[in-house]
Amino acid sequence: MWSVIKSVLAALIGVQSDFQRQQDFSSGKPTTFILVAILVTLIFVLLLMVVANMAAR
């Protein structure tokens, strides 16, 4: 699971090592990545909202 999250975070900033990429493609299921990615994106949006609200105060 941790390696999935790490890969999603890496994708978020667009940096990934070739070794990790090969591993993800040989062992993981696409659905896990998609679900985790959606979740991480939601958390990112919420984070931005919190920051924006803090700035607006």
Partner: protein
């Protein structure tokens, strides 16, 4: 600036001190706290860009020279370097966040129009500005005063060519003034660089902005949104004065407005109306219908030898009160007072070759406006 992020702008202090007087190459430092903040941000970000540029191009040109082919340099062949990639992603993010924090603080301050001590409505019109001091019963139009002879090249241009008006916007210093900005026709933009205000005036919307001017002076600007043929001929002039001077000016304007209102009821002589009408004509009408009344047909009809205008007084007055839809002729029922309308109608019916002898009475116009 009252922002806690001021410490992030150390470089701006140096450059502001060195550049207190505008060189003409850079944006002006301006005369409000906001304009100084904006200038500071601009200089900080400029220097950040300079440093990044020096580092990036320095490394690039050094590498080009040091490892050139003629010295037998062999290229390294590797596919990736995660550490370097993370670094060159993380550093720009940090730089961007570092710039966003003080920029957002300034932006927040710019949008805070609360607790203003004076409200001024700014209305864009083709092609002049109208200023209304809300709650003070003072309102006037501000038209370009550069003579058309200068624009046509028949006279030498003066110092403030295209940047002078008949009636500047007068504002007090050290007081927070809120602007409520809208337009009667198309989108204009009220822009005064020294005040760091550039705000669109949009028909049907009211945009807000504010200034608190620190130094008395005359600040000039222009319309910054293409608004028709005379877009270049609707400058902005702000006259910032000491607070006491402003109070005196405001009281004088109020009294003049009252005098004018009282003048509506009395009988006016033809000469009086002509004298009052000429400056109104020059300020309001001449930009389209020309100082000699010849107009610029077919867009702007001539007023001299215009049979319909001479024969039908009611039609003539109706044009001015209500405008002509689908053309550049605006309605003046709300922007000129009865005395001004009566005077300018009288003027156009008696100036040049038109000698109708009609002396239109302000009282008659006031009646029509009410209808």
């Amino acid at each position: 600036m009252h922002s806690p992020w001021r410490w992030l702008l150390p470089i701006s202090f140096i450059s502001t001190a060195a550049q207190a007087q505008s060189s003409g190459w850079n944006m002006p430092v301006g005369v409000t706290d906001i304009s100084r903040d904006i200038y500071g941000l601009h200089m900080t970000i400029f220097w950040i860009c300079v440093v990044i540029g020096l580092i990036v191009f320095g490394v690039m040109f050094y590498s080009l020279f040091r490892y050139r082919h003629s010295k037998g340099a062999k290229p390294a062949t590797f596919h990736e370097h995660t550490t370097v990639e993370v670094l060159w992603t993380a550093i720009p993010v940090l730089i961007l966040v570092g710039m966003a924090v003080p920029a957002t603080a300034t932006l927040k301050n710019m949008y805070d129009t609360s607790e203003a001590e004076l409200d001024v409505m700014i209305i864009g019109q083709q092609w002049r500005w109208r200023y209304e001091y809300l709650g003070e019963d003072v309102a006037f139009n501000s038209s370009m005063s550069t003579p058309w002879e200068q624009i046509r090249g028949e006279e030498a241009r003066d110092e403030h060519y295209l940047l002078d008006v008949d009636e500047p916007l007068v504002l007090p210093i050290n007081r927070k003034v809120r602007f409520l900005m809208t337009s009667d026709d198309v989108i204009h933009s009220w822009w005064v660089p020294d005040l760091a205000v550039k705000q669109d005036t949009i028909p049907g919307f009211i945009n807000e902005n504010w200034v608190q001017i620190n130094e008395p002076g005359i600040y000039r600007g222009q319309c910054a949104e293409l608004c028709g043929v005379n877009h270049g001929f609707m400058p902005v002039v702000v006259h910032a004065v000491e607070e006491e001077e402003f109070e005196i000016w405001l009281a004088e304007r109020k009294e003049a407005a009252e005098q004018e209102a009282m003048g509506v009821d009395r009988e006016w002589e033809l000469d009086e109306l002509m004298a009052r009408g000429e400056p109104v004509y020059r300020a309001i009408c001449a930009s389209c219908h020309q100082a000699d009344g010849q107009g610029a047909p077919p867009a702007f009809p001539a007023l001299v030898n215009n049979d319909q205008l001479i024969d039908d007084l009611d039609w003539h007055i109706d044009r001015i009160l209500n405008g002509v839809s689908g053309t550049a002729m605006p309605a003046f029922r709300n922007t000129l007072n009865p005395v001004e309308i009566a005077a300018v109608v009288t003027y156009t019916r008696n100036a040049w070759d038109s000698d109708t002898g009609d002396a239109i009475q302000p009282a008659a116009i006031a009646e029509k406006i009410v209808q």
